[in-house]
């Protein structure tokens, strides 16, 4: 499943690019993610915990920077993980590309996500909603960290949004889902005959 999202950062493209080069910083901006080990160059071990209503998924896995193109300002990350209790697996390829924009830098994220197991049963709609929420949080956290760094503060002292907590993610994703249901009934379809 391909999920695309973009957002603006107020900083210059080089600052943002440097940020993406610092994997521990990137990981710290991702809600629920934690790096546990660096097992090689551009190759990390870590965990991602997502709590969604009654289900808590904790993925153990690896992330690897597959490609880093300084000229195009494009980075490709591949990650795989398995839930600790054997309830599912996830694999993803994330392509982030930066382009200058009037306000600073535009960040385009293309996330190709394969989920199996319990999480997959939530359905494509729910997974893409949850992912969108996570990416939005990521963007906010990244901004906070970049601003902190600019102001000479330690980014790690800046409170990130809490690790992917059930209530907020669940509610926000549900809001998106409900909007879709609303659209189904009231927006696109106009029956011709009754």
């Amino acid at each position: 499943m391909m999920i695309k999202q973009d957002f603006e950062a107020a900083q210059s493209i080089d600052t943002v690019w440097d940020f993406f080069g610092d994997i521990p910083q990137v990981a710290a901006s991702l809600p629920g993610a934690e790096l546990t080990d660096e097992i090689g160059e551009d190759h990390y071990q870590g965990t991602v915990a997502i709590r969604l209503g009654p289900i808590k998924l904790e993925f153990d896995g690896e992330a690897k920077i597959k490609e880093r193109n300084d000229a195009d300002k494009t980075i490709v990350v591949e990650a795989t993980g398995a839930d600790k209790k054997g309830r599912g697996q996830a694999a993803l390829q994330l392509v982030a590309s930066l382009t200058p924009s009037p306000g600073g830098t535009k960040v385009d994220i293309a996330l190709d996500l394969q989920v199996s197991g319990a999480a997959a049963q939530y359905g494509r709609g729910m997974i893409s909603d949850v992912t969108s929420v996570l990416l939005t949080d990521f963007a906010t956290n990244m901004q906070n960290r970049l601003q902190a760094a600019q102001s000479g503060l330690d980014p790690n002292q800046v409170a990130s949004l809490k690790p992917a907590s059930g209530l907020s993610i669940g509610l926000r994703a549900m809001r998106m889902a409900l909007v879709r249901v609303f659209r189904r009934f009231f927006l696109p379809y106009r029956p011709r005959t009754r």
Partner: protein
């Protein structure tokens, strides 16, 4: 003096449904409404993976949760010889997985706890170590060289093939093709759908050690079959098992099979000596219980230039999931797929079918269909339309030319069924008239000039409903007859019990109408009971539109037995000989003196107070009815649509249905059945599909992804009727519950393809989602297959 049959709620009365009185008041009694003292709750841990070896299961954390009473795994089941159970199709199915999981959602472990929330939390605490294996999600992968073998638990199973089956006359068909002017071909996929009743499955097992009696409340369309199966599987004596099927919130075939949840709840109750309740959640229902269809069909028609069909060849590759647990008559491995083309006069036909295992949920059920006739009729009507297009003949004309004629009955179909009645041309003509066929064809031409795409689709079919007869139809050797038991009380009121089981069909209303028709007792004086094996006579249950053809006939027959005894009593009361009295609805009278008579109610009173010498008192009896043949209703469905060339979205303009289901017992209920069937036909053709990805993840596991139409999307329907009584049914009725679901989808698909006719597109596989239609429209090719292998060709 004469009783007005409509007034007493007899045959033909559109009597309000008796059961609705409690349903609309919230007084229905569904499985989850039942609560027994000391009852515990069971939850199922399901496999997250489609195909994986189980390396270990660690349930220690689950046992440690306060309130957990029992954790059941495959290992424990195996120690009781219950890890596997037989299926209704002579295969075996895992109750709780021991060696491997074979589909996503398969039952791996169960927790019984003080409340369902503790049980659910405890399931989360069980750690299963899986070794993932490659998943197979369609017949092509299943039959590929070197494909992993799904059923390695079975000796002598060296591939994924379940059966190869054939029927028909191969040589005769080859000759017909040699004589053909034109051969028309078509290949299509009928996607996997799920019956998705609003109420999921569930059970409450209550084993009483002091009496050794097991009472099993469960959601079953066929409680007697369950009792027999439990007796065999759990090795409990049959007389010590009582199965009660309470009110059911829909079934559509989904509640025929035996699911692991039922079996485990029984064992749990035996082990704990307390009632154990299991209520499936919606996702559990969608990913693990009996689905419908999932079959790849290809075929050819041998045609004469004028459109006459000379022969048919068909092949089916059928995806049965991980266990072959279809609920269908034993003799027919691919159900009644060979009922295809029954309404056409075709000299020769040959069908081959292959069933395969895949890593998908098992339990192919007749989803509102009489054992794969839905696939048969869809293929037939798509094929006939393709042939008409290939030959450039009018689609109504080709049907008219090939229909079995009204005076040709009984007619032997190309695959050997015997159809017995119908007025096919008349039904088609009424349908064409109602839709305004000729005018629409002109309108379509005009619209085309303005870039608008209009289409019209026809589907006509006769289908076999009401299995048996028992010579040919059995499930696990149990013959497919049915039964009724009628007890008339002293005051002329009565109780009727049958072996069928209503899931919304309205048996409590219509069965009473049949008794009213036969005996003249007002329908409101008759109470109908079903679903309790301790009280109801043995029956095979309700599915395959068999209630009216089989159990309904038994109701007639038992009423006639009652009438025969009442006649003797009447003769005694009137002091004349039996030969001298006649019957009119509700009353016996002396032929020579019609004013002198006794009512059925007076006979009932006499049966308990004044019987002739030598006669047993009482007025009750039972009847077991074994139908001489299936019944053959006919349906003609015509729809018009407009396709938006910019988006691929299609709107339904008009739907006309002409149904001939013989004599209608309650016309209002019949119309409700047809409308429900049409709504499902629209759903299947436009949006409803259970989808899997490459890893075998079921991505149709919730109502966000498995689309059901609401009242908002569903179009309006215009209904018409023709009545050709069934020659062998006691009151001339035929089945009807499924006709529109069976015949309807082809009408919608044919209409959309008719709108696309000039683009060179011959087929788009269901569901006709806008993206598929748009792809076909813009890229001028067929869109075939199901994800993940969907391809343009």
């Amino acid at each position: 003096m004469t009783i007005d049959e409509i007034k007493i709620g007899g045959l033909g009365a559109s009597r309000s449904r008796v059961e609705d009185n409690r349903f609309v008041r919230g007084k229905g009694n569904y499985i989850d409404d039942i609560s027994l003292p000391g009852m515990l709750h069971m939850e199922i841990l399901r496999s997250p993976l489609a195909h994986a070896r189980i390396k270990s299961i660690d349930a220690s954390a689950a046992w440690a949760i306060p309130g957990v009473r029992l954790v059941l795994t495959g290992e424990l089941m195996a120690s009781r010889n219950l890890a596997w159970m037989p299926t209704l199709s002579y295969d075996t199915q895992a109750v709780l997985a021991t060696d491997k999981v074979r589909f996503q959602g398969q039952e791996v472990a169960c927790v019984v706890a003080d409340d369902p929330y503790i049980a659910k939390d405890a399931c989360e605490a069980i750690i299963v170590d899986y070794e993932p294996l490659a998943a197979i999600v369609n017949p092509t992968q299943a039959m590929a060289d070197g494909a992993p073998i799904i059923r390695d638990d079975k000796e002598n199973q060296h591939d994924n093939v379940i059966f190869d089956w054939e029927i028909g006359d191969k040589d005769g068909t080859d000759r017909a093709f040699a004589d053909a002017d034109v051969v028309s071909e078509l290949e299509l996929h009928y996607p996997r759908s799920h019956p998705s009743p609003i109420e999921t499955c569930g059970s409450i097992a209550d084993f009483d050690r002091s009496t050794s009696k097991l009472t099993l409340y469960m959601t079953s369309q066929a409680p007697h079959i369950i009792r027999a199966a439990v007796a065999m599987v759990a090795e409990l004596p049959e007389h010590m098992i009582r199965v009660v099927s309470p009110d059911l919130g829909g079934g559509f075939g989904n509640k025929v099979p035996i699911y692991p949840g039922y079996v485990v709840s029984i064992l749990a109750s035996i082990l704990l000596e307390r009632p154990v309740k299991w209520i499936e959640d919606k996702t559990g229902n969608l990913i693990s219980t009996g689905f419908g269809r999932d079959i790849y069909l290809r075929g050819q028609l041998a045609l004469r230039k004028d459109g006459k069909i000379l022969g048919v060849r068909m092949h089916a590759d059928s995806d049965h999931g991980a266990f072959f647990s279809d609920a269908q008559p034993s003799k027919f491995k691919i159900g009644l797929l060979h009922s295809a083309f029954a309404c056409y006069d075709i000299p020769a036909a040959h069908l081959t079918a292959r069933g395969v295992y895949t890593n998908k949920a098992p339990g192919g059920v007749a989803y509102r269909c009489s054992f794969r006739v839905t696939e048969a009729m869809f293929f037939q009507e798509r094929m006939v339309q393709a042939a008409a297009d290939d030959l450039g003949i009018d689609q109504a004309e080709i049907r008219r030319l090939n229909f079995v004629r009204d005076d040709d009955f009984p007619h032997r179909t190309p695959f050997g069924f015997l159809t017995d009645s119908g007025q096919y041309r008349k039904c088609l003509d009424i349908g064409l008239e109602a839709i305004g066929y000729e005018d629409f064809l002109k309108e379509k031409q005009e619209a085309k000039k303005n870039g608008r795409l209009l289409g019209i689709g026809i589907s006509t079919m006769t289908e076999p409903l009401g299995a048996g007869n028992s010579r040919e139809y059995d499930i696990l050797g149990i013959k497919m007859f049915d039964s009724a038991e009628l007890r008339v009380h002293m005051t002329g009121k009565a109780i009727l019990r049958t072996g069928a089981k209503s899931q919304g069909q309205g048996h409590e209303t219509t069965w009473a109408q049949i008794v009213a028709h036969e005996l003249g007792i007002p329908a409101e004086d008759i109470v109908v009971e079903e679903g309790d094996t301790d009280t109801a006579p043995f029956g095979m249950g309700t599915y395959a539109s068999r209630s009216t053809p089989v159990a309904g006939a038994a109701v007639s027959m038992v009423s006639r037995k009652i009438r025969a005894k009442a006649r003797k009593i009447a003769a005694h009361l009137l002091e004349v000989s039996e030969e001298d009295i006649d019957w009119e609805l509700g009353r016996f009278f002396v032929r020579s003196s019609p004013d002198t008579g006794v009512t059925i109610q007076e006979c009932a009173m006499a049966a308990y107070s004044n019987v002739p010498d030598g006669m047993e008192p009482g007025l009750e009896n039972n009847a077991y009815y074994d139908p001489p043949n299936l019944t053959w209703p006919f349906g003609c469905y015509i729809t018009t649509v407009e396709v938006d060339p910019e988006t691929g979205v299609w709107d339904v303009l008009k739907v006309v249905a002409v149904d001939d289901c013989g004599v209608r017992i309650n016309p209002m209920i019949v119309e409700g059945q047809i409308m429900g069937g049409l709504a499902e036909a629209y759903a299947i053709s436009s949006m409803q599909m259970i989808t899997f990805d490459e890893q075998g993840n079921c991505v149709g596991s919730n109502y966000m992804d498995y689309l059901l139409p609401t009242a908002w999307e569903t179009p309006g329907f215009e209904l018409h009727e023709v009545v050709t009584p069934c020659p062998h049914h006691p009151i001339g009725a035929k089945g009807v519950g499924e006709c529109a679901t069976v015949g309807g989808p082809a009408a919608f698909v044919n209409a959309v393809l008719d709108a696309l006719k000039d683009t060179g597109v011959r087929n788009i596989d269901m569901p006709l989602l806008p993206d598929r239609v748009y792809e076909a429209l813009t890229e001028h090719h067929d869109v075939s297959g199901a994800p993940p292998l969907r391809t343009g060709s």
